[in-house]
Symmetry: C2
Subunit: 155 residues, 2 copies
């Protein structure tokens, strides 16, 4: 488990993989993004995407899962926001993984038990194509704060 | 169904509502954001959130659903990215709706069948508290392009 003082600029964390299928694209889209290009390959052929494409929200949510499992911050992954860019459509057959890099570590001046950590995460398929970039500023605590929340924390 | 020429600065679209429950917070988190503060109210009490909170990715995905149903762009909601800010935690009992506003309409100079539409969407609960803001630039087509993809399009 990692605390603020364990993180430094340039540290990188590589996730496991997640397979994209027609079935999981359609299941996610039926509930969260019910547009023809995410629901039917036939309908998607008449659309801008030219074939079935995953919702960007599915890609973002899968990225969160992969980061939670590969970047074990003791207090959890707590972000006030995120800047997402979908560079290329995510397609059935993609095997995604995430590479997370630490860009900055900024201890708080007013609250000594915490700091902000800026990360840049790329979601990449098995052919090395970057499907999404993800930039976020995380709130990370020192061990002394006694805050729990990371995936591996006892609860 | 709306095309590029139907949209103008200041147009607003109000969605239906979506109820947040312990059950849907936990179900989303189990798959996409398995951290104690999204999985267990007891564990969340020891965390930064002080009680069960929805994953920001659940809030973003629900926002997409509500926008897809309330902002009927004929070619679909196609964004190259999004800037999300989670202003306050989303909690069990929240009844969310989304208010989408058009900030800019920029016809393409090189491709006369399309343009970019900048939107700002707020996700708000029943007490008027803004849980999330969402800024995105959408690719929107003119009717002449013949592109389909919106939720109400025949497919």
């Amino acid at each position: 488990m990692l605390y603020l003082d364990d993180l430094k600029i340039g540290d990188r964390f590589i996730s496991e993989t997640y397979a994209i299928t027609d079935e999981n694209i359609i299941a996610f889209a039926e509930h969260y993004d019910p547009q023809p290009f995410h629901l039917s390959d036939t309908a998607a052929k008449e659309s801008f995407f030219g074939g079935l494409a995953a919702s960007g929200w599915q890609v973002g949510s899968i990225t969160m899962r992969l980061i939670a499992h590969s970047f074990p911050v003791a207090s959890g992954i707590i972000g006030g926001g995120v800047d997402l860019r979908w560079l290329t459509p995510t397609r059935p057959g993609d095997i995604l993984h995430v590479e997370t890099e630490i860009l900055e570590v900024i201890p708080s001046k007013s609250k000594p038990d915490r700091g902000v950590v800026k990360i840049h995460a790329k979601t990449i398929n098995q052919h090395g194509e970057t499907r999404q970039t993800f930039d976020s500023s995380l709130l990370v605590f020192r061990a002394s704060a006694g805050i729990k929340g990371g995936i591996f924390a006892p609860s």
